[in-house]
């Protein structure tokens, strides 16, 4: 094997794919190592890409030059714009993606990518010299050298599949887990975290009586995640989902068998912490005992096979109980379970040990992305994979890393949260985590981030020109509506008003006004952009001012060599947290939980005194 790789990516999930594509596209000879090549970019859990906040992440990935958006556009079987009745800041796309074609298309892209080799192997150790990574060692003890290693190991670190009272050391899809890598990481100085997640049972489609369910169709309007391609699916031919509810019988079965659930006594050695936003059905019954029923979605996994995914029904009950549970659901009385639900426990690293560039603080040139950093979700993983790939390349080119700020991207919020606050449960992105979300919209992802993608080298000249044209047109249209007056009837009086001012009044639409009043011809996305910018101008400015306050605190640097043990009067918890996270700025320090404003004033007094700032 030829050993002159610049980058080795360990893991072929959504994070690994983006990392490998990014470094290869930026001209670095890259090797992607994965347990099974045919499982690259598969979706082991829900058959969808996007969702609230996550859809915006996919747009951001696309704006920066990542692959996830395009691949989802190529393979989706249903598309919805969520929150379309709410404000522009919270709109977000969600696609039902086909579980067969999504990985297939992605694998094609990888195979056709120059500078990229793919190898099937299990990585069990790293080559480390003087706290610097120099390559990897496989389970066959093969050593492969590289300048940079990116770990995107997903749930494969010492993973255990839990069903009822059985614990089996295995990755998803009966794949081999990595047995030793997390122990090695611990030896190298990482703190290791045990996490847990679960997945619901899959049902044979032709055994479901859909007449007892409520149909949920895709949107009649077509959309794409990508900024660069037109919709290729047929809006009239989308595959529907179906809605059902749990029954009193379901609840009885679950409560009677609670002690058999792996999480509720079936296994007494569970240490992994599960996500609150994605509880198992037994968790939901216990925690929300007053609820009479719980909502479940029946989601198709693919056009090419029959599995239906029961969203909301994840469980770690033994198989016989799962049978009873499923058969108690309306329309599923005769259902055949194709694959049983399971919980999975796996190792991750405490993300406070990582820099915002996603390079670890412990080992130089070692980057981590995705579930190994404590996150959950395909989109969160892909976003980190892309950033890790970009920053690996920037490091190889001796350039400053790309660190997106909280007011620039959900990706910025995601990474800042991880490296500043850490996480105790698998971290999922929510719109409520983004305090400046009015700036982080679905519609302006390209305006926010394409420039970065271009500077880094993942966005080509043609796409960049397109962005510049769009910006130019937004400016032109804004100027035009400021200078164009129309006559409207208000309180039975005719008044002349600029379109710009009229647009600020409630329930007006720019495209309607333009259609009615003149022949301006602009692209739909330009009109949409101007409308949002004008209508919500007051609030956008307000949020921008808040963001500026935050940025001021980001400018206040904390010296790398600060010794928190010498700062008198810090609360014990604050001292501990500051020592752990070692924030780079006062702004970051402020966001650490357990560090109070009074600790910050003490810290600032100390900095002024000893560093004369």
């Amino acid at each position: 094997m030829n050993n002159n790789y610049e980058v080795i990516v360990v893991g072929g999930g959504h994070a690994g794919v983006e990392s490998a594509l990014a470094t290869a596209r930026l001209g670095h000879k890259t090797l992607l190592i994965t347990g099974r090549i045919e499982n690259i970019a598969t979706m082991p859990c829900n058959p969808s890409i996007g969702g609230s906040a996550k859809g915006i992440i996919v747009r951001e990935i696309d704006a920066l030059g990542g692959e996830m958006g395009i691949n989802a556009d190529k393979t989706l079987i249903q598309m919805k714009m969520l929150n379309s009745s709410k404000g522009p800041a919270v709109r977000s796309l969600r696609a039902q993606a086909d579980k067969i074609t999504y990985p297939k298309e992605m694998q094609k892209v990888l195979k056709n990518q120059a500078n990229l080799d793919i190898k099937e192997a299990m990585v069990e150790d790293l080559i480390i010299e003087n706290k610097k990574v120099k390559g990897i060692i496989t389970d066959k003890l093969e050593k492969i050298e590289s300048k940079i290693v990116i770990l995107t190991t997903g749930t494969y670190l010492k993973s255990d599949i839990l069903i009822g009272n059985t614990r089996t050391r295995s990755g998803p899809h009966d794949e081999k887990p990595s047995q030793h890598l997390s122990d090695k990481l611990r030896d190298y100085g990482f703190k290791i975290l045990r996490l847990k997640t679960g997945t619901p049972p899959r049902i044979a489609k032709d055994t479901i009586d859909f007449s007892k369910t409520k149909i949920e169709n895709g949107d009649p309007k077509s959309y794409t995640f990508s900024h660069d391609i037109k919709p290729i699916y047929d809006v009239n031919n989308q595959v529907p989902c179906h809605l059902i509810y749990t029954t009193p019988e379901t609840h009885k079965i679950i409560l009677n068998n609670l002690n058999k659930s792996a999480m509720y006594g079936g296994l007494d050695d569970i240490t992994g912490i599960g996500p609150r936003y994605c509880p198992s059905i037994e968790d939901k019954l216990v925690r929300f005992s007053d609820k009479e029923r719980h909502q479940l979605f029946l989601e198709p996994e693919s056009l090419y096979y029959d599995d239906i995914y029961i969203q909301g029904f994840s469980t770690s009950m033994p198989k016989d109980v799962q049978e009873q549970m499923v058969k108690s659901l309306p329309g599923l009385e005769n259902a055949k379970i194709l694959r049983y639900a399971y919980a999975i426990e796996y190792d991750a690293i405490y993300p406070t040990q990582i820099n915002a560039s996603l390079e670890t603080k412990v080992i130089e040139n070692l980057f981590t992305a995705g579930q190994i950093n404590g996150t959950s979700g395909y989109e969160e993983a892909a976003a980190q994979g892309l950033i890790a790939g970009i920053n690996a390349s920037l490091k190889l080119r001796n350039k400053e890393p790309l660190i997106l700020k909280r007011n620039e991207a959900y990706i910025g919020v995601l990474i800042d949260d991880l490296v500043t606050k850490g996480t105790k449960e698998p971290y999922r992105m929510l719109t409520s985590r983004a305090e400046y979300r009015l700036l982080l919209r679905h519609d302006n992802a390209d305006l926010r981030l394409r420039e970065y993608g271009y500077q880094v080298g993942l966005i080509n000249e043609e796409k960049y020109q397109k962005l510049l044209n769009k910006k130019e047109n937004i400016k032109k249209l804004t100027d035009e509506i400021k200078n164009t007056k129309i006559t409207i009837t208000q309180n039975n009086k005719k008044t002349s008003i600029t379109i710009y001012d009229y647009l600020k009044t409630p329930s007006t639409s720019l495209s309607e006004i333009l259609n009615k009043n003149n022949n301006l011809t602009y692209e739909e996305e330009v009109i949409e952009q101007v409308e949002i910018q004008v209508k919500y101008d007051g609030y956008i400015q307000k949020v921008k001012r808040e963001a500026e306050k935050m940025l001021k605190n980001e400018e206040k640097q904390i010296p790398n060599d600060i010794d928190y043990n010498k700062v008198n009067n810090l609360a014990t918890e604050a001292r501990q947290k500051l020592n752990e996270v070692r924030p780079k700025t006062i702004g970051q320090a402020l966001r650490i939980s357990g560090v109070n404003p009074s600790d910050i004033s003490i810290l600032m007094v100390y900095l002024r005194k000893y560093y004369n700032e």
């Binding site: 859990c45 829900n46 609230s52 906040a53 969520l82 929150n83 709410k86 404000g87 522009p88 800041a89 919270v90 997945t199 619901p200 949920e216 809605l243 509810y245 996500p275 609150r276 936003y277 994605c278 509880p279 939901k284 925690r287 929300f288 609820k291 029923r293 719980h294 909502q295 979605f297 969203q311 909301g312 994840s314 606050k421 929510l430 719109t431 409520s432 985590r433 305090e435 979300r437 009015l438 409630p506 329930s507 919500y536 609030y539 307000k542 949020v543 009067n569 810090l570 609360a571 402020l590 966001r591 939980s593 109070n596 404003p597 009074s598 600790d599 004033s601 003490i602 007094v605």
Partner: protein, 450 residues
């Protein structure tokens, strides 16, 4: 922050003992230099010692000295308290000796500030201690003690909890748009909750203002054209000759103050220079100060002269004060009526200071206006500092904006920006800013997931 500070901690005045507090690294050493008795440096923490304060072996006072070593002290620094035997002169002398021996005179509130910076107290407690120090009446002392005990923190925490529930309801609708069993919140549904919250907040603001009155008292400014009898009214209310009373216009060129108690509430009456256009520079400064006083007062007593026709200046002054709480008083009713009362002035009190009539009616009106008779019967858990009240009001404005936005059908996530601002502003009162609270609330109250 490592220097040693000192100040007289008790009110300066004729009292049996006064306490001088010293805090900082050198507190014990500095006091030891002027203390004759045991060697204070060798004493254990939290002990009291008898001795004398001396200057060059001359005894200044017989004292008790308390030694409290860090960190179990109010400021978390070494603290020494000297109990002197009273008398303004003696107390000042002791303070002077401390300053000569290396202590620095503390800024107002600096002990509390150190306590705060050293992590001894939170912001609300610091506010409460300020009030305790400044409390002039027994009622105010009770109120300050309540604030210290964390009741205010609880009150604000309750308010924030209510608000965060509304916010979480909105958030959960955004993050989980397809969950039908989560009640889909429309603006109409959320409006009711917000309006209820607004009511709760308003009640607390109202009660806090009462609390402020109890602790800080009322500031009442008497204003009017020159020579309408402002100084005479002040003297009459105070029953002492504090302001110079002459019948030469423009005699009061500075602000003259006096304190009295109405229904147990301390009331500061401020006599202002008569407001008129003037070229006399000294008098002009007085006039500017008067206008400034209008802004700071809780209540304006606006005086007119029954014996003079109304002037343009009278109307100008009236326009300046009409939006503030005010009482209109017409003086000199014992003299010939030359005044036509403008029709926008509906309520006024006729008085004659010379004949001492109508003065009690002024007091009664003040009592009714501020509900002074009932203030002290309330549960005294309010937020009495001006800082807290202004933050409460700021928060109220955000809530008002939210409701206005709902009324014009602004998307719910935009409305939520105002609610979040209100929530954060309330957090400022107790020194808490953004945290994981919201997300925790989201997950503890709603049942979500795959």
């Amino acid at each position: 922050m490592n220097d040693t500070i000192t100040a007289i901690s008790t009110a300066l005045g004729p009292s049996a003992i006064s306490i001088i507090r010293v805090s900082g690294t050198d507190a014990i050493e500095i006091v030891n230099k002027i203390f004759k008795g045991k060697d204070l440096k060798k004493q254990e923490s939290h002990t009291i010692h008898y001795g004398h304060i001396v200057e060059n072996d001359k005894i200044i006072d017989e004292v008790l000295v308390s030694i409290m070593k860090a960190p179990k002290t109010f400021t978390k620094e070494d603290v020494v308290e000297i109990n002197t035997h009273g008398g303004i002169a003696t107390t000042n002398k002791v303070l002077e000796l401390l300053l000569l021996n290396g202590a620095r005179l503390a800024d107002p509130g600096e002990f509390s500030k150190r306590a705060f910076l050293n992590g001894r107290i939170d912001l609300v407690e610091a506010d409460g201690i300020m009030n305790l120090i400044e409390a002039k009446t027994q009622t105010a002392r009770e109120l300050s003690i309540n604030q210290l005990s964390g009741k205010v923190s609880n009150l604000i925490t309750d308010l924030r909890d209510k608000l965060v529930q509304i916010i979480a309801n909105i958030e959960v609708n955004i993050d989980y748009p397809e969950y039908e069993d989560i009640e889909n919140l429309t603006n109409d549904k959320i409006k009711k909750d917000i309006e209820q919250f607004q009511k709760d907040l308003l009640t607390i603001i109202k009660e806090s203002e009462d609390g402020k009155i109890i602790s800080e008292g009322l500031k009442v400014a008497i204003i009017g054209r020159p020579n309408v009898g402002k100084s005479s009214l002040l003297n009459n209310l105070l029953e002492e000759e504090k302001a110079i009373v002459t019948d030469i216009e423009g005699t009061t060129r500075d602000i003259v103050e006096g304190n009295l108690s109405i229904s147990g509430i301390p009331v500061t009456i401020i006599d202002t220079a008569g407001i008129r256009k003037t070229s006399n520079i000294v008098e002009k400064i007085g006039v500017d100060k008067s206008l400034n006083t209008i802004d700071k007062a809780d209540l304006i007593i606006y005086m007119l002269n029954n014996n003079e026709p109304i002037s343009k200046e009278d109307i100008d002054i009236y326009n300046k004060i009409k939006d503030k709480k005010h009482i209109i008083v017409i003086n000199k009713i014992d003299l010939e009526n030359k005044l036509t009362i403008p029709k926008e002035i509906k309520n006024y009190i006729n008085i004659s200071i010379l004949k001492n009539t109508g003065i009690d009616e002024i007091k009664t009106t003040i009592i009714n206006m501020f509900n002074l008779g009932n203030l002290h019967t309330k549960d005294l858990t309010y937020l009495s500092s001006a800082r807290s009240i202004s933050l409460l009001k700021k928060s109220f404005t955000y809530i008002e904006n939210a409701i206005n936005n709902i009324n014009i059908n602004t998307p719910i996530d935009i409305v939520e920006i105002e609610l979040r601002n209100a929530w954060e502003t309330l957090g400022e009162i107790i020194g808490q800013t953004y945290s994981e609270e919201l997300i925790d609330e989201l997950f503890s109250r709603f049942c979500l997931g795959k």
